[in-house]
């Protein structure tokens, strides 16, 4: 409870995020319609008790699409962010710990990936390998690790000089042991903040890909319904834009606030 008193961002974030997760999990109970099935109604229909968020031009139910969209967004962002963090640690930890040639090589590779425009690279890779769910998750993780790897390395550089690490070394602990048992736990706070930001980035990237028609065609993605909205809003179908936009914004906002909140807790002295 003390944690929540210390950070308003964290409190708001957890309230919003729990609500989103609830809607995502309860999608199957809250609606009996399938997200991608056409022909529930004749063309665009405004919100009504039967269709709480209306339907699109092909009679697809926007409500069920929006709810199942939560699952897609969270699945893609959680899995890809976890993979990103794992790769970042595998690269950043030895680079910072061993230094020297290994560090130079790994950081050159990191700089290289940091300097190419990520979204274009992701688009390019999705086209080459095909827009399936697995490919999108893998591509997002493979091209997102450099930022966090740099953070890991910088933290390791400072932590490996601390006394408790030196003490472990004197006591005869192996490199592997020191890296994973002594250093890694203390690297995690800034990495967790960065992973929350990475997660909101992944949600936006997946939606962006789907918006451009490069999402998995079998998944209900917010990006795709918002691409459908592009035509719908000209013939009065504002509901295809408004409801999915609210859900994606609230989700991304709650994850961004989570990053803020974690930062408040880990760096209580930082300027607020």
């Amino acid at each position: 409870m003390l944690l929540f008193r210390r950070s308003r961002s964290l409190t708001i974030s957890l309230i919003l995020f729990s609500a989103i997760i609830f809607f995502g999990l309860a999608a199957g109970i809250l609606t009996d319609k399938e997200p991608l099935r056409t022909g529930y109604a004749q063309g665009l229909t405004p919100p009504s008790p039967q269709f709480p968020m209306g339907t699109d031009q092909l009679g697809r139910d926007v409500f069920s699409w929006t709810l199942y969209g939560i699952r897609t967004a969270l699945l893609v962002s959680l899995v890809s962010t976890s993979l990103t963090v794992i790769i970042s640690i595998i690269v950043g930890l030895p680079a910072g710990y061993f230094g020297g040639k290994l560090d130079q090589v790994l950081m050159r590779v990191t700089d290289f990936f940091l300097s190419i425009p990520r979204f274009i690279l992701i688009i390019f890779a999705v086209i080459i390998f095909g827009p399936t769910l697995t490919n999108i998750i893998l591509i997002l993780s493979v091209f997102s690790w450099p930022t966090i790897a740099r953070i890991v390395r910088a933290e390791v550089l400072s932590i490996k000089e601390r006394e408790y690490v030196q003490a472990a070394k004197v006591l005869g602990a192996g490199n592997f042991d020191i890296m994973f048992n002594e250093i890694l736990p203390n690297v995690m706070p800034p990495v967790l903040v960065a992973s929350a930001l990475q997660m909101s980035d992944a949600i936006l990237a997946e939606a962006g890909l789907s918006f451009l028609g490069l999402g998995d065609p079998n998944m209900a993605s917010w990006g795709r319904i918002l691409a459908i909205a592009r035509q719908a809003i000209y013939v009065g179908g504002w509901w295809t834009l408004v409801f999915p936009s609210i859900f994606i914004t609230v989700t991304v906002l709650s994850v961004n606030l989570l990053a803020d909140g974690l930062n408040d807790i880990f760096n209580p002295k930082s300027v607020r």
Binding site: I116, P117, R118, I120, I128, G208, F211, G213, L241
Partner: protein, 307 residues
């Protein structure tokens, strides 16, 4: 760094499933043309020889031939660069200007309602995907009130022979796309200015300046703000690489005829040489822009030295 980008794209193309010659020629190409591509790029030769041929071609400016535009890739891309620079540049300038203004206001009114409103609003805009934000602007300002043109770069029929009318028309088309781009970037600048402004307002040289009895306005602009703005330069350089995704989407939504829109046209036509060219050229320009940022930084902040 630049050769690394090219080698990387080459390897990516090699990893792609399917015949690279067909990829390079386009799915609708004739058998003869596919064979010609195979011959030109030496696709029957060993990998390292292929790489040398590929590098040689890109370094002499030969990015291949776009089968959708029936013209060399480089010409097609270069033609679109000015429009994209106009959009991305305007967006960045609006974001930086208002970001600094709002950041300074938030820092001076720290922990007041004004500060909270500025911080919350910019965080919300930071969280809205640009394809939602841009469509909301269209819904309210174009569809409901018809204040701005729907899309495009210039009204059909307005010709460059009347330069003032032409420029005004382009500006009018520029408003919505550049505001969309600016709004999603602004949060970064507001937050950065606010944090560094607060830090510098409490630092010793400001206290010393106050003690010397300098005018508050002078302290604020000449001493505090000047130092607080240094990080903006670095971030503006980094933002450039990050905002490219936003530019692609904005140009698509507003049919702005720039490189971003071209990317989508290339995707839709599966025009691989064109896509490859866009990828290599944007990467190279981001790398160059980052080098330029570093150099500018050393001029602005004499404490920093280039290694």
């Amino acid at each position: 760094m630049v050769p690394a980008v090219i080698i990387f794209t080459f390897l990516l193309l090699k990893l792609a499933p399917g015949d690279p010659a067909v990829l390079m020629a386009g799915e609708t190409a004739t058998k003869e043309y596919i064979e010609m591509i195979r011959e030109i790029y030496g696709l029957n030769k060993p990998l390292h020889e292929q790489l040398i041929i590929y590098l040689g071609k890109l370094f002499t400016g030969d990015f291949g031939y776009s089968f959708t535009f029936k013209r060399p890739v480089l010409d097609v891309i270069l033609e679109r660069v000015p429009t994209t620079l106009l959009l991305a540049g305007t967006g960045a300038l609006i974001a930086i200007f208002f970001g600094i203004v709002l950041g300074v206001v938030a820092a001076l009114r720290k922990d007041t309602i004004a500060d909270n409103i500025i911080s919350s609003l910019t965080l919300i805009f930071y969280s809205i995907p640009i394809f939602a934000l841009a469509q909301f602007l269209i819904l309210f300002l174009v569809i409901n009130y018809r204040l701005f043109p729907l899309s495009g770069y210039v009204t059909i029929g307005v010709s460059p022979s009347d330069p003032i009318k032409y420029a005004m028309d382009v500006l009018w088309h520029l408003v919505l796309p550049s505001i969309s781009l600016a709004l999603i970037q602004m949060a970064t600048y507001v937050k950065l200015t606010r944090t560094s402004m607060i830090e510098s307002l409490y630092s010793n040289y400001i206290i010393a300046a106050k003690a010397r009895g300098l005018k508050w306005r002078r302290i604020l602009f000449k001493h505090a703000l000047k130092n607080a703005l240094l990080p903006i330069i670095t971030v503006a350089g980094i933002q450039l690489g990050l905002i490219i995704g936003g530019v692609v989407i904005t140009e698509t939504i507003f049919s702005w005829p720039g490189v971003g829109r071209l990317t989508i046209e290339a995707i839709e036509a599966r025009d691989f040489p064109l896509l490859n060219g866009i990828f290599v050229l944007t990467s190279v320009s981001v790398i160059i822009a980052n080098i330029v940022t570093d150099i500018v930084y050393t001029y602005v902040d004499p404490r920093v030295k280039l290694r």
